[in-house]
Symmetry: C2
Subunit: 350 residues, 2 copies
């Protein structure tokens, strides 16, 4: 049984910065999520607050309250927010120190390493897992091209922006493929994927740039050798033209993805966190063209529908499908059966 | 006066792996290059062997011979090769150890850090400069968008492949702009740029991926604040679709480059070092389109002409210019005056 863990999001649970936590609440998870600590939302159910589905994960006002009430007692405490630049938000420090004092193992996916924080290191007495700790060049792999011989279909799940649902869509497609009898794996590229228990992958943004392509290839090779799936989904990061960190070309060029599932937020005008400087997300049609030039084809567009009624989402989807001539799906509303059919078709034609 | 330095290329001087050394021989350099150590080419002049121009830089058979004959005695010893994956070639180890024993400071731009090599560290007694030592996330900068307000024209010098002359072209354009009375700076993104004495930049491929855009922006901001140039040239790395490490989108999207100078090797069919797996360089016309979608315009194409006669190069240039409708220049044959005119025009129109 996975170890029970508390997740800290103090003040952030209902923001995109808590997307790590949303993934863990939605599941799957490497840990058994016993509760969330967020004073602002204390007393509510984390699942119901996320998407209306009760999941028996209570939100607590503080670590002490959570520990007192939880059975089994959590052994791990996860930093549940991902901030721009990967810094620890001030509001989480007191909770973290409390968890460390209570003997919990701290699990952290921020760039800011807890094991390099003198105060927390002393309190935690070595019980720290820094997921995003960079590895030295000597431990990293350079690209060789071996990936091009892998007989599993590779699909990059890219997005028009950060925090737009790429990982969630990839996980849903994996589940739907498996339910339909296809072998499917997701290569994680972020800390949340690791936290969700994915076996193959690497932390894209904490990798020395020269080795991103080789590490991606290495993860795909290991995944194929050990699981022989029909389909390997590659979790995208950021967006191809996000100025704060363009990414995605590696998945197509180095991961040699044949197809792309492109996650899109029809009502988002500016790149996440760059609204104030009016940093506009470029047009969807251009992105499809760009992906084509990089060497892959967009097989489906998936919509980020938070805050939209199912009816409004359906209308958006229909309009985009008509304009682009590519199937458009709302994964969290309609499921992804249609994408499984597309994948079946691509496998048959490959 | 810059410190005198020996450069080690044992067995590699006439290969693209010695491009770092070629840049230092061609100049400028942070050090005064007193000689090259390469047994295979001992007795020749490094400049003459490179491009026919005598430069008074002798090639020696070993470090001892170089030290005996050089006056002033070199104080530094530079690893003059850049290998795939950044590993130290076996042929250089003995030379490096000899240089360390002789009291020289070792300067190394490989991913493989000399300060983490037990044997060399002991011999060098701390006299090691590892240019490509990665910096921790806490020392790195995240992208903010401030670069978009900089009133200097930004030009990305991209290429169709690695080791194709991007940095050399950028340096030539800088010199030609300065000679024409324009303020021009180059932002380095590789170890050779640093070795050539450039003030502003960062080592792109040794940077944690999440901070590449912010470090690039930070270098541009510092450069502008301190030198107020008319033009800032951004040194490209790799190529937009090089599967071993796609790069360049950052220069356009995060560096907010208005224009691109695109370095092209008309006779190179496969990506450098991936000839055996027939990893083909995609068409030039597509690259121009791709750059357009990323948000910049190709203002000129520059040719890598090694191994071509001036006449053959001119014929190639003419054919490409006719096909693409973009000015094509052979920097090492014709100079870059035509590019300075283009930049003047762009500055006037901006």
């Amino acid at each position: 049984m996975p170890e029970p863990a508390l997740v800290l999001t103090n003040g952030y649970y209902d923001t995109v910065f808590a997307k790590t936590t949303h993934g863990l609440v939605r599941g799957p998870s490497r840990y058994w999520i016993s509760g969330v600590v967020d004073a602002e939302h204390a007393g509510q159910d984390a699942g119901r607050l996320l998407d209306g589905m009760e999941r028996g994960i209570p939100i607590w006002s503080c670590v002490a309250a959570a520990l007192e009430a939880s059975n089994p007692r959590p052994t791990h405490c996860i930093v549940g927010v991902a901030t721009v630049g990967g810094r620890l938000p001030a509001s989480l420090r007191a909770d973290l120190e409390e968890a460390a004092r209570a003997g919990l193992t701290l699990v952290n996916g921020l760039h800011q390493l807890l094991s390099e924080d003198d105060r927390i290191r002393v309190l935690a007495q070595g019980r720290i897992i820094d997921i995003r700790r960079p590895r030295a060049a000597s431990a990293l792999r350079f690209w060789t091209g071996e990936v091009r011989a892998i007989p599993a279909l590779r699909i990059a799940v890219l997005g028009m922006d950060c925090a737009i649902g790429k990982r969630t869509t990839a996980m849903l497609i994996r589940e739907a493929c498996r339910a339909a009898g296809l072998g499917a794996e997701v290569i994680y590229t972020g800390q949340t994927g690791w936290l969700q228990g994915l076996e193959y992958g690497f932390i894209f943004d904490a990798t020395l740039n020269d080795f991103v392509s080789g590490e991606l290839e290495g993860a795909i090779l290991r995944c194929y050798q050990e699981t022989r799936p029909d389909v390997i989904l590659l979790e995208g990061q950021s967006a191809l033209r996000n100025p704060s960190g363009p990414a995605g070309a590696e998945l197509i060029c180095s991961g040699d993805a044949q197809g792309v599932i492109l996650q899109h937020a029809p009502r988002r005008e500016y790149f996440e966190d760059f609204e104030e400087i009016e940093c506009r997300i470029p047009p969807l049609e251009e992105e499809i063209e760009l992906i084509g030039l990089l060497g892959a084809k967009v097989w489906a567009i998936t919509l980020f529908t938070r805050g939209m009624t199912p009816k409004a989402a359906g209308t958006e989807a229909g309009a985009i499908e008509a304009a682009c001539g590519i199937p458009v799906v709302c994964p969290l509303i309609d499921g992804v059966a249609r994408i499984v059919d597309i994948i079946r078709g691509q496998l048959a034609a490959w």
